[in-house]
Symmetry: C2
């Protein structure tokens, strides 16, 4: 059978976008053999420039440019510095947008949100691990995709490489979800484990920074914004509950007392930044993010420093826990491949 070609535009070639590009190269033969799919990158944008080629860009060239901290605008012959991602999405003919630019809630989710809107309105499918557009405009984007007959997938937005959204949206159909409990953020768990082992706040932070887990703006993780955004997306997508960021009661780990963490750990409790959605009698959900002490009997009570997880408590499917061990960001980047195959794979 001839392979079906899927022309892709990738916006954002940072930590996830670069790994995804490498993945496209590494998996090309497998995808052709197993799914008869030829995933071709015809456009790429980073914050400084763009490149496009209807015949397909060379993946290794892009990875090399980005590994050397260059811009794809420097791509030989077809690179353009200064051109923007939104212009690229508007101009390039493609079937699908991978939107992997960094989450940016302060700037109204831009440039991701405009790229996603532009692509859907053009009739392109969109896959994205970027929480920004989804948390800020969930309903608008879902409706926009439906009205243009295209698909919007965002598995990477809530739990790294764990398919928490597919599990919740698809495998729990028919159930009433009584409660979602998630530990969706790696770096806060890493820091809490350091504190539990006796490190000072300064040392714990420094080690988190060294390990590469901490974002440029530490407040995003430490003040619980990341977990809050993820919980809001879970609420919208899985619970069909139209939550905004401000509907989540939020308490981060900033300023948590190392003594308290050590004390709880000594009592065999695991401290994690827990995101919880709880169903009330009236069918509404209360949403909160805060550090909690989990006993060892809790389904997430044994999460290691590199693990994240989610627990769904349901009326008819029992209590289902899913956990991922994700020592590198590769699984998070690979969610874009999972999403693409959800759209295109026929088996």
């Amino acid at each position: 059978m001839d392979a079906r070609t899927v022309n892709i535009v990738l916006v954002g070639v940072g930590n996830l976008g670069r790994r995804f590009t490498q993945l496209l190269a590494d998996k090309a033969a497998h995808l052709k053999t197993r799914y008869s799919l030829d995933l071709r990158l015809v456009g790429v944008a980073d914050s400084r420039g763009v490149a496009s080629d209807p015949a397909g860009l060379d993946l290794e060239t892009i990875v090399r440019i980005k590994t050397d901290e260059g811009s794809v605008g420097e791509y030989p012959n077809v690179g353009k510095l200064q051109a923007t991602a939104v212009e690229l999405v508007r101009e390039v003919e493609a079937n699908l947008l991978c939107e992997a630019s960094p989450v940016n809630l302060q700037a109204g989710g831009e440039p991701g949100l405009s790229c996603v809107r532009t692509a859907l309105a053009k009739g392109m499918h969109v896959v994205t691990p970027n929480k920004g557009p989804i948390v800020l405009a969930y309903r608008e984007l879902v409706d926009l995709a439906a009205s243009h007959g295209v698909k919007l997938r965002f598995d990477g937005t809530v739990a790294g490489g764990l398919p928490a959204l597919y599990l919740g949206m698809r495998d729990l159909r028919g159930a009433t979800i009584e409660r979602i409990e998630a530990v969706p953020n790696v770096v806060t768990g890493f820091i809490l484990d350091q504190l539990a082992e006796g490190a000072s706040w300064e040392d714990a932070l420094a080690r988190a920074q060294e390990s590469g887990h901490l974002e440029a703006d530490p407040s995003w993780d430490l003040d619980g914004w990341d977990a809050t955004a993820k919980l809001a997306i879970l609420a919208n997508a899985v619970l069909d509950y139209p939550a905004r960021l401000e509907d989540v009661s939020r308490e981060g780990i900033t300023g948590i007392s190392p003594e308290k963490v050590k004390r709880e750990a000594a009592r065999d409790q695991l401290i994690r930044l827990l995101a919880v959605a709880e169903r009330a009698e009236d069918g509404n959900y209360s949403l909160r993010v805060r550090p909690e002490a989990l006993p060892k009997t809790h389904p997430l009570g044994h999460l290691g420093s590199h693990k994240i997880g989610v627990v769904y408590t349901t009326d008819i499917y029992g209590t289902i826990t899913a956990i991922i061990d994700e020592p590198t960001p590769l699984p998070s980047a690979a969610t874009m491949l999972r999403d693409i195959l959800d759209i295109y794979a026929t088996q």
Copy 2:
């Protein structure tokens, strides 16, 4: 929007079939509101008789008959004693078969296998938690469904209410699966925990029987046949590896020494009947079922007595663990609803 009517034939009204019938009654309003679906039972068969009504059978009547240990052949006016399930499937006009008769490998998977074949060949979708037909005729049935343009779903065959198959078949697309480890059987874990706590084999067996976990033929669970069948289905469906029962190296828990179990437990190990598929260099898988001692650091090292779980170790999606706490068989019965919604739900 008008609800879409799905006419269903249910074969097997034992532990799972009866709960599924109750579920159809309990969830009718929710399914109509949320998915615009009207699931109507137009035919039902147990081992002693059948009943059918194109206008829909009364669900509560069926549940009452079965709770009183009667046969659906005694259903008022439309019940027929002596008629068989296969005849019912052949004669009744319906969109979908739920095949929930007991697993029966000795009898060549009958009557389940004939019912499934008949339904697919008639152009009916099939959902089934019955391992028999799937383990004995996986490739034939998958091809038969494809050639008639209908769907075959069997989520309930490998891990009770845990969507281990959906996770493996869909969310791991694109990955190479290096290893599957599963604890797919509840009763063996229950017995091993009893032994670990100091019970004799006789007492452990008696308690398992009391708890309702043990099948009429204890050898099915204790000698590892159940876990073997589940591993073979995982291999076929998730790994695309054409394994038969005899390709699995099988060792059950019969005759395991209570002293050994107690000794391992004292060393903080959890003993479970583990089913493992491991990928070799050449791409083939070795398959085995045997009791193993899991350290607390193993992703399944904290499984309680009522839990089952699966671990997928992959090249690009990290290591993903899914666990279900299933104190009653309701989640296993509900897999048929999950499967039906996978076929019919458009959202």
